[in-house]
């Protein structure tokens, strides 16, 4: 099993939204819908406050509750990885996965009616490329790679820097990390 991870440096992210635009262009995401988005949060205690920008998306969980809750197997892991995909032709649009997802990372396509989500650009990963959002980042704050490889950029960053995941307490084993 290959575990892919995304590592995002909140100290160099400027919240420009290029990742969101790159995703929409690469994956032809219709108007009004987004597979990724930027959150602006405040961190620290007054008066020592900082603005934290976070580029958020599907966390491609190791124990993805969306995959286990799907009644038809439309939500599945790509090959032998943690990349979670939706097989569009099998999706009934029952939305059990949306209820199961801790990250609001899934969307219903209108009028097609099936559920769509971030794919970690697996079609690019297959060619050895980074996801579109990572490639487009102007401050190089986003990193993508394999956690199994100790020498990969993501493994090295997680070894060297303080980091967090979102909602780790749900037991989903998320794979989008934020450097603090």
């Amino acid at each position: 099993m290959t575990t892919y991870a995304m590592v995002i440096d909140t100290r160099t992210c400027i919240g420009c939204g290029d990742c969101v635009v790159a995703c929409k262009n690469e994956n032809k995401v219709p108007a009004g819908l987004n597979r990724d988005w930027v959150v602006e949060a405040t961190r620290g205690e007054y008066p020592d406050l900082q603005t934290e920008f976070r580029s958020e998306r599907c966390n491609h969980c190791g124990h993805a509750t969306c995959v286990s809750s799907c009644p038809t197997g439309a939500s599945h892991y790509w090959k032998d990885t943690n990349i979670v995909l939706v097989a569009e032709e099998k999706c009934t649009g029952c939305k059990a996965c949306i209820a199961a997802c801790p990250y609001d990372a899934r969307l219903i396509m209108h009028p097609q009616g099936y559920v769509d989500k971030c794919t970690f650009c697996h079609h690019r990963v297959d060619q050895g490329l980074d996801p579109a959002c990572v490639s487009s980042c102007p401050t190089h704050c986003m990193h993508f790679g394999m956690l199994d490889d100790r020498d990969s950029n993501v493994s090295r960053l997680l070894r060297e820097r303080r980091h967090k995941v979102l909602l780790g307490e749900t037991g989903n084993d998320p794979h989008v990390y934020y450097l603090l």
Partner: protein
Amino acid sequence: MTSEAVKPSLRGFLVDSLGHLVRGRLMYWAWLVLLLGLIALGGWHYTLQLREGLVVTNMTNQVSWGFYISNFTFLVGVAAAAVMLVVPAYIFHRKDLKDVVLMGDTMAIAAVTMAILFVVVDLGRPDRFWHLIPFIGRFNFPQSMLAWDVIVLNGYLLLNFGISFYIVFNHYRGREPSESRYFPWVLLAIFWAISIHTVTAFLYSANSARPYWHNALLAPRFIASAFASGPALMAIGLQVIRGISDYPIRQSVINHLALVAAIALQVTLFFLLADLFTDFYNEGEHAASARYLFFGLDGHSGLTPWIWTAVVLLTTAMLILMIHPLRKHPVYMNIAFVLTIVGVWIEKGMGLVIPAFVPTPIGEIYEYSPSLTEIMVSVGIWAFGLLLFTMLAKAALPVQCRFLREKNRRAGTERNPDSDPAVEPD
């Protein structure tokens, strides 16, 4: 036909049953026209949803289950509550309940059918429903709770239909159904009834990211409230049947259902209190949804008046049903039944489904209320359920009435007061 000559064949049974459906008084036809009109209206709104997609509902990527799934949850409870007639009738051999248990099964059939329809209209791609059929589609069993739900709901429908059909067909042939043949299925149906509501509760409580649902008390709360609303609905249905037909429904049956509802309401409100205490004594982030529901969150309080209405209705109903003279009073008793049905419909409907999505696990707040399309499609499904119940009851009642009359005539010489078919006025 209505003559005493009984055609013992299956074909004769089906022809006779259809015959009962096309004979009726003006009120019967007016009722059918009303229901068919509502079904047509709901169907027309549903074609709109089919064409435009779920965007015509007020559901969003934040609040992804709404009015449809709320009604679904309530109806699964109603279906499960048929067991409150079945257990005393078949396990404790209460003669008065055994005479009406078939109506309980009929209501369960109608309720499960409506529940399944509510899931179908909630699907973004109903044309791919076949993926959810075991062996035919790609069925993610046993992992997915929704896959379990599909199995238990359809199984319950088949069980109830099979048992009712067997009993009515035997009565049609003028003989007692063989208990050794149907009793094992009745026993299975009793456990199955509990399972349909438990599995439906697990569908929600399995979601660890939604603390409002992720709660071990959810399944017990489901069962408790279902045993209040189901018997209340059944009691009203039985009184209506008694009013418009000569089917012998004894007042002791209605009193039994009122007592069941009283106890179930006490347990329901106790469970609610236990949940509220746990959420609010030391309030943490996990209580955000409960705060949104009961008190409002960050200025958003769309459901607050709604849930407090339910709490007041259920408490009032419980108090009426706890006072013996009021519980046996024909007017107050029925007021309590209506309050119970509406209260549980709110509490186990929108009150259960919506707050789990507000706020979302990552903190967004989107307030939901159903769109016109959702309301009209739901009205259509309710009308369809009432139509199904009417048709099944209309076909089965004459057979039942004739069988009970014959039986009582044979037993009449013994002067057993239990088998007196005459209906005492309330």
